[in-house]
Symmetry: C2
Subunit: 213 residues, 2 copies
């Protein structure tokens, strides 16, 4: 065993990695409670270990601790939910019957932004400037998986007007919020993705998604 | 234990999840070889378990199996590397000394695209249509972590003109490639992110990235 070549993952470890990937759910039902400060720290450290294009580290986390601010975020989300329902035409009523977020019920509310200094970063972004969002999403996926391993549910809410949320939270100039994360204890994890259980959508089999050239 | 409430992750499982998050690296050095077909299938299944906004499943994978096609992809990446170096001004020469991709050396080359049918999907995307990319990035992060657990390295290359790559691979109309994934056996995993080892960038401590409102 040389330095830089750590022990490979053994079968139990590998199984745990596949388990967390399989059992992670986008949660909208929460059981209140709280998230231990040390656990929250571990989750954010896990997010901060994500890859980022050219190592630009474009993510920022705002923990919403004020009840008034949380209520204002919830109102923004409610408003966008109504507008989305209108835009969905014939599926609008069905959409309104879904529970699409747990902003008021979750233990912790965290807003994730792309930072406004991103235009300094060219490496890996010259032709695809949106790679900064891809990096932020990898950080959120890390957080999601770590939360599941800690027996905490998480949901990614993207029903809001980014400029309004940035203004509400007084984010630095140019910062663009991309996620309202609802995090906390849950009664249960959905057996299957909630939108599958509720027949909103069907999962797609892998064979439809892979081709060769 | 009731249905829907699986056993929580035990400490060994949780440790394995944090380990894979901490030891995943963006790899550019590969050792040739091959990826077992059953392993590749597991990795792609892991990717396909990612969350997606409104369950739209916007990802598609193209496995590049033709040596000629791989060589053409490598040339596209080489060309963009030169243009990026020019756009980096005073850091251009430093950039050109970095190894930024392993397209020719990796065992498997996989191109990931966002699908062209995305404009049908409004749920969670009315104000933020780029959430489809966020979902694709979550799928890639799943694949990355699963690969690390399988002792395989992976690198995400974003140095290419998407329209040129789409044309080269004859992707369906509207599909937008966002990643060239280099996957395969490696001699070693970097102890720290390669761009940190090479002093291109510094990691940012979490305290700089978290605030409260």
């Amino acid at each position: 065993m040389t330095a830089g070549r750590p022990q490979p993952f053994d079968e139990a470890e590998r199984t745990a990695v596949y388990r967390v990937i399989a059992e992670r759910r986008d949660m909208r039902h929460f059981a209140g409670g709280a998230v231990d400060a040390a656990v929250l720290r571990r989750l954010l450290e896990a997010a901060n270990m994500a890859p980022s294009v050219g190592l630009m580290v474009p993510w920022r986390f705002v923990r919403v601790v004020s009840p008034e601010t949380r209520a204002a975020v919830a109102e923004l989300v409610d408003a966008e939910r109504e507008v989305t329902a209108g835009a969905l035409d014939e599926r609008g009523a069905e959409f309104l019957r879904l529970k699409v977020e747990g902003v008021r019920d979750c233990a912790e509310l965290i807003v994730v932004s792309i930072t406004g200094d991103r235009d300094r970063h060219v490496f890996g972004r010259r032709t695809m400037p949106h790679m900064d969002l891809a990096s932020v999403a990898c950080a959120i996926q890390n957080l999601w998986l770590a939360a599941r391993a800690e027996d905490l549910g998480m949901g990614w809410v993207s029903l809001f007007e980014p400029a309004e949320l940035a203004s509400l939270l007084d984010l630095p100039d140019g910062d663009e919020p991309v996620a309202v994360l609802c995090l906390g204890p849950v009664e249960r994890f959905y057996d299957r993705p909630m939108l599958v259980e509720q027949r909103w959508a069907e999962p797609r089999p892998l064979d439809e998604l892979v081709s060769e050239r």
